[in-house]
């Protein structure tokens, strides 16, 4: 395939990042295959499961439906940016304490999505949490403990 690659300059988890990509490559694939951040997961590639959720300029998106080229000059945040040298993000800690994961494949997507909610609405109702997270599928937990974990962080903040 002989289409010219695109040079993308972006910010990922607060750090400047530059890479070359074919124009038809998704942000998800660029993160996983080019930048090397495999935390965002592939579940369906058509925007129905949320396993690939990342945040672009503070808005949660399905990265499988974003072209890598689109994030030129944007701020991308993935699950890998949630913990810092000081420790886990409160959501990550709550997920562990509340057993909000079983197989864990949906967990990065849920964490980024939940962070997207709490960053803007620190005290959401349970209904609001469930509505916000409706775009993230979990097949293992029945969502029970995920909702508990998000509520726990909301109540403690």
């Amino acid at each position: 395939m002989s289409i010219q690659k695109i040079h993308v300059k972006t910010t990922i988890n607060g750090q400047p990042e530059e890479f070359l990509t074919d124009p038809y490559v998704s942000l998800l694939d660029a993160l996983r295959e080019i930048v090397g951040l495999t935390g965002s997961k592939e579940g369906c590639l058509d925007g129905n499961c949320g396993a690939c959720t990342v945040s672009v300029n503070g808005k949660i998106v399905d990265s499988c439906l974003v072209l890598a080229a689109e994030v030129e000059g944007q701020n991308v945040e993935t699950v890998e940016g949630m913990a810092t040298a000081e420790g886990l993000h409160p959501l990550q800690q709550a997920f562990l304490e509340e057993a909000a994961l079983q197989c864990g494949i949906c967990t990065p997507g849920f964490l980024v999505a939940a962070k997207g909610l709490l960053d803007n609405e620190p005290d959401p109702s349970e209904e609001r949490i469930r509505h916000w997270l409706a775009g993230n599928l979990c097949r293992c937990t029945g969502y029970e403990n995920i909702i508990k974990a998000v509520k726990k962080v909301a109540e403690n903040s």
């Binding site: 058509d46 079983q102 494949i105 469930r130 293992c140 937990t141």
Partner: protein, 759 residues
């Protein structure tokens, strides 16, 4: 066997430590199959049949081979020729010749999605592009996509080589791979004289396990003719066994590294991609990775069978069940092997019935070859039995839980297929349900325009034992490395370590557990059958007990005593005659130099049976009678777990299985078009519950310890998917006054049953 006191004063068991693999999983560091990176890695893309039933006339790969960036192509002819032979991979046997045809067809395609060729190329996009250039010519045949059509006169025959075993008689030219009958007592006589007889026919549709992570496999066939495989699997050793058999190699030539797995539920036991990427690696000289697209997961992996189930039950005037009969027809998919055998074991398991007859039919249809899905066969029959039981209870004007209690299977009851129950918790669970807040609370008021109803249903799964190994090594700082071979789908690294920790009297945070590969872990059968905390935990207990003996030896050396003068209690080793001479585990660990080498131990089990598990679920549904929309207003899961080792994760299994059952009951199905292909091959139209579709799922743990396990563990993973379909059907009846005999009970069906529409 360690004598564990009944008082259940455990130090570690029953607590909820942070799981050992938790930090990696919440930070995105954990490596799942698709995350694997290797030098020189290239990607595979699979070509799949667009037709439900066809003869392969020709495959032309020439154009694909010329594309820049393509390294290798293959067809089914590149897999070794197989004779009919059966291999045992722990959760059943498979016919290798058919498995090979399923992995890549050589003669016929038997379902849309059936793999026919594959390409390996420099990246995924080139591989997909090249795959689209492979030309396959088909002679299309008529397709049958349900058990009724497959058994009609004149139905197209899927497998010419299939010789059906119909009650011992060999039958050719059939789509019915097997017919079995289990009979006890005299059902016909009992039916003839019964007070009430209810006979109903139920239909269910094919459904998928729906794990969020698609199938994946990476293989490298090296210069030494050894194959290394990295895959998300429920069992590295079964993958090794299957792949070696399919490639006609000794098992020692195949090394399988199980990566983290994003859900399996039974669907990631059979191999689909491993032999394909192995062959492509051999042909290209590179490591090759394949990841299934979601549409290929639906159409090219192993969904759960639908079918037609007839249940007939009869009671005497005192509401004792006097006879029960069932005909179970399940769809095997393109090749034989549906879960019909397990269905036979479960259909009447919850009831003590003196006269039974069960006929079971394994029927091939033009759909993907079915595989295990969480208690395979049991949810299907539970829908039928639990609905009929509800009808009978109402005929007797009896509380449905009381009806089940009156007829409850218990220790000593003979299951219809001949197994006699050891100690089981069916009655305890039913009694807990009867006492529960949910069962005793008012229905409450539904939202405007809705009607509410309540239903209850039970379910059963026998669970399995099988083989596991655990190896322990002591570190000088008092920590223990625990290596086992059971893929960790939901916290079992920790639940296994907790059992060893309890025996050794140390905290579980001192364990460093890992799931080894086939060259570092001792043999383990599949993570499935609800066996992992049970059997691998049992192996951990044995390893811990062995370790105590090893360490007692070391104390004897250190204190110049005889071994039988050393005691161990509560994590402390001491000299029986001089208790001041003692070591904590940690102290001893740092004093092992010059005592005979590094301290290690091993435990292995091969368990013939497991403690069966019963569950009862209560559900309140709200129905919008104008649209047929059903919402779950309240849901309670009650289950006998034996002993809850890791309660938060036990509850997780209960809630998770229930939610899969809710999806199965309300919306999930393979919607088949007239041409025999599946229409809904995306998560958009294969509708699994989202967080917004559910209330809180209440879980009530009942513990009737399993006498066959040192801590009383019963497998918990599977039984919770069994009751929901029946419970929801019964709740809908309570709300609407109409019975449902067809699943899913989707909105259109509800409108139809209510008479609002006729199609």
């Amino acid at each position: 066997m360690v004598n564990v006191s009944d008082s259940k004063k455990y130090k570690v068991i029953g607590t909820n430590p942070i799981r050992h693999d938790g930090y990696d999983k919440v930070t995105g560091r954990a490596i799942y199959g698709a995350d694997v990176k290797l030098p020189g890695l290239i990607w595979a893309s699979i070509v799949r049949s667009p037709n439900a039933h066809a003869v392969i006339k020709n495959i032309d790969t020439s154009e694909a081979e010329k594309i820049d960036g393509v390294f290798a192509v293959m067809t089914g002819k590149d897999l070794p020729q197989q004779e009919d032979q059966f291999i045992d991979h722990g959760e059943g046997t498979e016919n290798v010749a058919w498995s090979s045809e399923n992995i890549m067809a050589t003669q016929k395609v038997l379902y849309k999605g059936h793999a026919v060729a594959a390409v390996a190329a420099i990246d995924r996009y080139v591989a997909d592009y090249a795959a689209s250039k492979i030309k396959v010519e088909y002679d299309i045949l008529d397709a049958v996509t349900n058990v009724e059509d497959a058994t009609k006169e004149g139905a197209p025959i899927l497998l010419n080589s299939l010789v059906g075993d119909h009650l011992g008689k060999k039958v050719k030219n059939t789509n019915v791979a097997s017919i079995t009958r289990h009979e006890f007592g005299d059902a016909d006589k009992a039916f003839a004289s019964a007070e009430n007889v209810v006979e109903r026919t139920f239909t269910l549709q094919m459904v998928h396990q729906g794990y969020i992570e698609p199938h994946n496999a990476t293989a490298h066939w090296d210069e030494e003719d050894r194959i290394k495989i990295w895959t998300s699997t429920q069992g590295a050793f079964p993958v090794r066994t299957s792949t070696a058999a399919l490639l006609k190699l000794d098992v020692s030539r195949v090394k399988v590294t199980p990566l983290e797995i994003g859900g399996g539920f039974g669907g990631k036991i059979s191999v689909y991609l491993e032999p394909v990427v192995s062959i492509l690696s051999k042909k290209s000289g590179r490591p090759v990775k394949a990841v299934m697209e979601r549409s290929s997961v639906f159409q090219g992996s192993g969904p759960a069978p639908g079918g037609t189930i007839i249940v007939k039950m009869a009671t005497d005037k005192d509401a004792n069940i006097v006879a029960a009969e069932s005909s179970i027809k399940l769809e095997a998919g393109g090749f034989p092997g549906s879960a019909v055998g397990a269905a036979v074991q479960c259909v009447f398991a919850a009831y003590d019935v003196p006269n039974t007859r069960i006929d079971a039919f394994d029927i091939v249809v033009n759909k993907p070859k079915s595989a295990a899905y969480r208690a395979p066969g049991s949810p299907q029959v539970a829908f039928a039995t639990e609905t009929v039981a509800d009808e009978l209870a109402r005929l007797h004007d009896m509380d449905p839980i009381d009806f089940r209690l009156k007829n409850a299977a218990k220790e000593g009851t003979r299951r219809a297929d001949g197994v006699v129950f050891p100690k089981v918790g069916n009655i305890e669970v039913l009694e807990a349900a009867k006492k529960s807040d949910h069962w005793n609370s008012n229905l409450g008021t539904p939202a405007a325009g809705r009607v509410r109803g309540r239903g209850v249903a039970s379910g059963y799964w026998f669970n399995v034992g099988l083989k596991s190994t655990v190896n322990l090594s002591v570190n000088s700082d008092g920590s223990i490395v625990l290596v086992e071979g059971s893929s960790d789908i939901g916290g079992t690294r920790t639940s296994i370590s907790m059992q060893a920790a309890e025996i050794l009297g140390i905290g579980v945070e001192n364990f460093r557990p890992s799931v080894g590969d086939t060259e570092t872990a001792g043999y383990a059968d599949v993570t499935g059958g609800s066996r992992t905390t049970y059997a691998t935990g049992f192996a951990a207990v044995k390893a811990a007990e062995s370790l105590i003996e090893v360490l007692k030896d070391r104390c004897a050396i250190i204190w110049s005593l005889d071994k039988n003068e050393i005691d161990f209690e509560d994590g402390t080793f001491f000299a029986s005659k001089d208790p001041e001479l003692k070591f904590t585990f940690k102290e001893l660990a740092s004093n092992l130099d010059n005592t005979g080498g590094p301290a290690a131990s091993s435990g292995s089990v091969d368990l013939e049976s497991a403690g069966g598990a019963f569950g009862t679920h209560i559900v309140d549904v709200d129905v919008d009678t104008e649209t047929g929309k059903t919402d779950i207003a309240r849901y309670t899961v009650l289950q006998d777990v034996g002993t809850a080792i890791y309660p938060a994760y036990v509850r997780g299994q209960m809630a998770g299985g229930a939610v899969q059952g809710i999806g199965w009951a309300l919306n999930e199905e393979y919607y088949m078009k007239d041409d025999g292909t599946q229409a809904n091959v995306s998560y958009l139209d294969y509708r699994m519950p989202t967080a917004l579709d559910l209330p809180n799922i209440e879980t009530i743990i009942v513990e009737v310890p399993n006498p066959g396990h040192p801590f009383g563990v019963r497998g918990v993973g599977e039984v919770p998917i069994c009751p929901p379909i029946g419970a929801i059907g019964n709740a809908l009846h309570d709300a609407l006054g109409k019975r449902f005999y067809d699943s899913p009970m989707k909105p259109g069906r509800i409108l139809n049953v209510l008479g609002k529409i006729s199609d």
